[in-house]
Symmetry: C2
Subunit: 339 residues, 2 copies
DNA sequence: GATGTTTTTACAATCGATTGTAAAATTCAT
DNA sequence: ATGAATTTTACAATCGATTGTAAAAACATC
C-alpha cells in the first residue's frame, strides 16, 4: 500500500511537483485549469498530504499541549471538551497529559511536550507545584503558555480563571446571612491561588460582619472524598459545633455532609453547607448543595481561544488575564431562613 | 533562538552528523568515548531531537488517535485517563477527539485522524453510528483500529468490552430475587451492542423465571438526565405500576428516581431500582443505587495496552476481543428483603 | 515579426534525522 | 613492519512538501 506523494501526481500529469504543491493549496501562481487537474488527480489517486514533511519544512508542529492535574474529574473533562472543540476547529491537534497532582510528573510532561515541539501549552497546575521553572524553556522560546483555573502569576503567561475571592466572599456572606456565626472553611493547599483566594474571600466576609477569623475553623486537606470524611470527624470532635461549613469543592463537601448526617447532624438546621463547582452530584445529594457555578466547558473554550489567537498573532498580547463569570447557586443545604 | 541540530553538534565535535545521530541512540557502531562526547555536547548545547524530521524519515507519526462520543462523562474521563497513562509510558502521543454522539462528526474526526497519519485508532462509537465504512481506510492500510465499550464486530478490529449480557442478566435476576415481577427496562439505541446485549440479558433473566417480556415495559431513549425525568412520567402513567426498574446507565436512573420520589413513590418498597456504571453519584443518591461496576480506567488501560502491543508487533494478532470483569453492586435502591 | 508583458511552470535547495555502504583508522597477529 | 581483521567514522541518498528564482510559454502591442 504505497502512499501517494505530490511527485506521483506530478509524474502522472507531466508537470513538476512544485506546481502540484502550489496547486493543492490555491496558490495564485497556478492556472485554474491546471489546478483542477491537480486536485482531481489527487482525489482520484487517494493522495493525502504528509503532515510530517510539511511540518518539517514549515517548522510548525500544529500541536497544542495540555497538562492538567487529572483528566477524570467532572470539571476537568468539561474543560477538555471545551478545549477540544476550539482547537479542532482551528485545525490544531491536541496532546493531552495529566500530572496526577504532582509537580514531578508535571515537569516530565512539560519536557515531553517541549521535545514534541508543541506550539502552545495550556496548563492547570498540580496540587504541589511551587514554581514554574519547568515552563521556562517554553517562555524563552516564546511558545505561549496559558494557565487556566489553577494559575500562576508570570508576566509572560496569560491566565483564565474565575474571581475566586469574590465567589468565596459571596458564599460566606450568604451563610452569614442565613444566621451562621461559626463557619468552618475546608480547603486545599493555600499555595494554589484558587484556594488562597477562596480563603481570603472567606476571611473578608467574616471581617465585614465583625466575625473574628478562628484558626481552628480552618481545615486544609486535599479535598478528596476521603478527606471529607476525615473533616467531618474533625468537626464532630470540636468543643462547639460550627453552624456553617464552606468547602472549596463539591466532592469533599458531599462526603462530609454524608458523614455528618450519619452522625445525626441535621443539614442545614444544625450546620449549613456550601460547596464549590456545581458538580452534577450537588443536585443529587440530600439536601441539594449550595455551590458556586462556573462552567468548565466555557473555561476550556476561553483558554483555547486565547491560545489560538496568540498563535495566529491576533492582537491579544495585551490580554493578560481573563476572568470568567461565576455565580452563587443557593440550594437547600444552606437555606435556614424561609423567604 | 536557533534550534540546535545534529549538524551543529557534528561541527562542534568535528565529526559527522551520522555519527552524532548514531551516538545519540546508543548505536553499537559508535565508540563509547565518542558517544559520551556527543551526549555531553548535546546536553550542553540544549539539543532536542526534531520529531518531525525523524518521523518523516522513519515514516512513523508516533501518534495514537482516540475518538469517543463525549469526553465529559464520568466513565469516559476514566477511560481517557487510563489510555493516557499507557500511551504516554509507551512513548506515543495522543490525539483525542469527540464525536458528540453523531456519526457525522465521527466520520470527519476519523478523516482528520487519517490525514494526520495516526498509527492506531481507539474508538468508542457514537450513538447513531450504523456502520463503520469510515474506518475502512485505516483497515485497508493495516492501521490497527481497536473498539472499546461501544464496539462493532469486524474481523480486523479487536474489541474491549464487558459482558453486558451477563451483567444485565445478573441485575435482572437480582431484582427478581427481590420480588420484582414487572420490571421496566430503560435503555438506548438497540443498534449499539452494549444496549442490545443488556436488553438480551434482561429478557433472558425474565425468561428464566417464567416472566413474560412485556413490550410496554421497554423504554428506549438517550439515557440522559432529561430522559430519566420523561421516563419517570411515563412510568407514572402506566395502568399498573411496575415494581422494578433496570436502567442502562446511572445518570438516567438517578434522575428517574428523583422524579418518582417527588411523586411519592417509595424506592425500593414500591419500585426497586438498578442502574449501570457505578458512577460516583450512585453513592450519593438516596437510596444509594444498585448498579454494575466496571472500571473505565481499566478499560482504557486494556484498550491502550492492546494497541501498543499491536504496534510493537507483539504476538497479539489472535486476540480479537477482551472481556473485562464487571460486578453487581447491591445497594439500598433494590433491597427489599432483609438478609 | 520583433519586442515587451504577463502568466505559467520547472529547477533546485531546504527542513533535520536516518542508514547502507564505503573508506579510514585502529588493533592484532605474525 | 606488513598484511589481515576489526572497529570506527564519513559520505551521500532518502523521507515529502515548500518556495525563491529562473526559465519558458503565452499573449499583447506596434
Amino acid at each position: 500500500m504505497k502512499e501517494i506523494t505530490i511527485y506521483d501526481i506530478a509524474e502522472r500529469l507531466k508537470i513538476s511537483a512544485a506546481t502540484v504543491s502550489r496547486g493543492l493549496k490555491d496558490d495564485p501562481l497556478v492556472n485554474h485549469k491546471t489546478k483542477k487537474l491537480i486536485v482531481d488527480a489527487a482525489e482520484e489517486m487517494g493522495y493525502r498530504s504528509n503532515s510530517m514533511a510539511s511540518n518539517l519544512r514549515n517548522k510548525k508542529s500544529n500541536i497544542i499541549g495540555v497538562i492538567v492535574p487529572r483528566l477524570n474529574s467532572n470539571f476537568m473533562s468539561d474543560v477538555i471538551a471545551g478545549i477540544e472543540k476550539v482547537v479542532n476547529d482551528a485545525n490544531y491537534n491536541l496532546f493531552i497529559s495529566q500530572s496526577l497532582e504532582t509537580m514531578k510528573k508535571e515537569t516530565s510532561n512539560a519536557k515531553a511536550m517541549f521535545n514534541n515541539r508543541v506550539e502552545g501549552l495550556l496548563v492547570s497546575l498540580a496540587y504541589d507545584t511551587a514554581d514554574i521553572e519547568h515552563f521556562e524553556p517554553f517562555i524563552k522560546r516564546k511558545v505561549p503558555v496559558v494557565f487556566f483555573d489553577r494559575v500562576f502569576e508570570h508576566p509572560a503567561c496569560p491566565q483564565i480563571y474565575i474571581d475566586n475571592y469574590k465567589a468565596a466572599r459571596e458564599v460566606t456572606n450568604h451563610l452569614i446571612d442565613q444566621g451562621c456565626k461559626r463557619i468552618v472553611h475546608i480547603t486545599a493547599n493555600l499555595l494554589r491561588s484558587v484556594y488562597s483566594e477562596r480563603f481570603n474571600g472567606y476571611k473578608k466576609a467574616l471581617e465585614e460582619h465583625q466575625l473574628e477569623f478562628d484558626d481552628n475553623l480552618l481545615i486544609v486537606n486535599d479535598l478528596s472524598s476521603q478527606a471529607g470524611i476525615a473533616a467531618a470527624e474533625q468537626i464532630l470532635k470540636m468543643p462547639v459545633l460550627p453552624d456553617g461549613v464552606f468547602v472549596a469543592n463539591d466532592l469533599c463537601a458531599i462526603s462530609c455532609i454524608q458523614t455528618l448526617k450519619k452522625h445525626g447532624v441535621k443539614i442545614p438546621q444544625d450546620i449549613a453547607f456550601a460547596g464549590f463547582n456545581n458538580d452534577p452530584t450537588t443536585c443529587v445529594v440530600e439536601p441539594n448543595l449550595t455551590t458556586i457555578n462556573y462552567k468548565g466547558y466555557e473555561m476550556g473554550e476561553a483558554a483555547a481561544k486565547l491560545m489560538v489567537a496568540h498563535l495566529n498573532n491576533y492582537d491579544v498580547k495585551q490580554m493578560h488575564s481573563v476572568v470568567l463569570r461565576s455565580e452563587l447557586i443557593v440550594r437547600e443545604s444552606s437555606l435556614r431562613k424561609k423567604n
